[in-house]
Symmetry: C2
Subunit: 412 residues, 2 copies
Amino acid sequence: MDPKEVHTGAIFDPKQSPHVYHLALDIGGSLAKLVYFTKDDDHFIDGEEGTSHRKALEKSNGSKKYPVLNGRLNFKKFETSKINDCLEFIKSMKLHFGGSQLQENPRSHPIAIKATGGGAYKYADIFKERLGIILDKEDEMDCLVAGANFLLEVVHQEAFTYMGDQKQFVEIDQNDLYPYLLVNIGSGVGMIKVEGEGKFERVSGTSIGGGTFWGLGKLLTKCKSFDELLELSYRGNNRTVDMLVGDIYGGMDYSKIGLSSTTIASSFGKAISDNKEREDYKPEDIARSLLRMISNNIGQISYLNALRFGLKRIFFGGFFIRRHPFTMDTLSVAVNFWSKGEAKAMFLRHEGFLGAVGAFMSSDKHGVKELLVNQVVQRTPSKLSFVTDKIQGQQEGEFNGDESIECSVYAA
Amino acid sequence: MDPKEVHTGAIFDPKQSPHVYHLALDIGGSLAKLVYFTKDDDHFIDGEEGTSHRKALEKSNGSKKYPVLNGRLNFKKFETSKINDCLEFIKSMKLHFGGSQLQENPRSHPIAIKATGGGAYKYADIFKERLGIILDKEDEMDCLVAGANFLLEVVHQEAFTYMGDQKQFVEIDQNDLYPYLLVNIGSGVGMIKVEGEGKFERVSGTSIGGGTFWGLGKLLTKCKSFDELLELSYRGNNRTVDMLVGDIYGGMDYSKIGLSSTTIASSFGKAISDNKEREDYKPEDIARSLLRMISNNIGQISYLNALRFGLKRIFFGGFFIRRHPFTMDTLSVAVNFWSKGEAKAMFLRHEGFLGAVGAFMSSDKHGVKELLVNQVVQRTPSKLSFVTDKIQGQQEGEFNGDESIECSVYAA
């Protein structure tokens, strides 16, 4: 498709709308993720109004005024099975028209939106029919990696460790970021060795992921949603369901090989008991056992792959985690246990939006860039830089992962 | 315990019994395994009666007659939850008295039987109270490895590969056996790097094992036994339950990273569907999905560990497999897939009895050896060698894993 023939979602008409919308999608097996940019009113940097961060950037660029958009990256998710809700949201927010009222009557050219994930293929027709949108497909892995790199390089307090109820933000030295293992836990799990911008390889994965947790959980409990199942697992005790080393060894450790009596020998191994039915087990115990089984397994396979390629850092992303303390703790403990403290599990604040952010970034080519071109007619930017000042919303420990990110778009 | 003060199960009184029994136990989380030796009538080799194999051995030893026991190693298993059945069997067969009638009234000395597995600790009291047996505990890993080494070194047609419905026996060159990875799939899974006799290290494991298959299977189906669940999985189609790559990609492959449309993206990922309840899924489909999920995962983690330590051969043992073609095939395919054909999955005919055979072997010290000493008064054997001629029972392709092994015990 010739990009000249289509409008991107980022078309900006300063006469019409106080906000610029720019949209990208990541439609996975379970969840559809949206990232869109909303512009603040100030289109051009003003030395007096800018934050200190912006000033610093100006300074480093010789205090010249640069064309800039100040605004926010916004995050939103829908269940893929409820793709209609997603379509409605886009329609109601007019995201596909860049938020502009005037563009509501589609011109003869179709509108192209960057999209990734399997759903970009599966739901291409429905987006075309219902919204007149052409999903401009970007490779899933490309987007995941681009999104993770962007967030890790640019966003303050994006990465953190979590163990024993302790969250700790990690300052990432951009010169020491690569190589790392990116583990994206969606319905399934992908493991990617990332060595730099656009330099990566999918090295492993497992089918035991978020879809397994929710799928098995749905079959075994009466939970109506993934979040309800997660919530349930908080209150559960897996020891009623799992066979522990101590259950086999009559309460003793198997200390010779370093297995304590509380180590899980067999997930769900206690459910083989003859005189019990499913109804005899508490759903919260089942939920917790499931969560431990899956988190543990992902942590173990991740570590084995990190080891294989000599990667010290493992970043976990994807919507399975959902900032769930127990999930993060189990992943961390697994990585710590199997690596004997050598490797560290880290998490991303915008864990679920890596692919969507990557798709968003990929539209720089004729999205945000064009937007700037439209504004600053005389200037064609060769490179865009996003500067994010801070994450909006809650304080440490209370973020929920879809906080908008305040950011400025510079043309350098 | 001073071995002089106890009788082993192998006490042999040629005046009393036509058969010698010698017993060892491996009591795991789900199954209790028994190995016992039964003696044929001919105590001394006779050049005319011996098989060609025996003759060959005699010849290599200079055609001298050696003291020898001809007989069989027998294999038997019970569910650990039905440990009473196991006790009854031992009692009825008088295995703990070496099969001798006269010894039925226990002397003042207790009888010691070699035993391994967690149940050797857990059920020690019950064996003492009910049968007057002291379980002489041997380390589980020691026994597993000793058992595997013995079977691989000594027993003809013990190891085989299985892929695409093709079973192929593997001739193991004893000089090229080590190092290998031994993966024992019981309720949980242990992975051991074996470098030689008594030279090994437990390097990994996973809690997603046979207990998980049976535990989850029991919660999700109405199956009454592990074997029934396995049987069910034969007829199932996992595609109704698992989310395939094609389900996410609208029927397409994700060929860029080598995932075909039929690759499982998320085990049980299709069960998240809103408008279906557990009753809407066929139990056979659930069983098959479970089996694939668990076999695949074990194959993957095994391969990653084999890779880590540069081990080309992976031997799978333990009762999870049960010579189930589909299980073996999935394990083989997983190892083949992840290793890109570099590593090979192999199976052991007596897969479930590795620990029990190892415990049996450990009693050589004052078991079978004493037995020979009793017979050949003037001679103290310094080394025993088992020679197995063939596996009794079914032809190739029909064995069921608990065939007795015809063997001769030589004192060299």
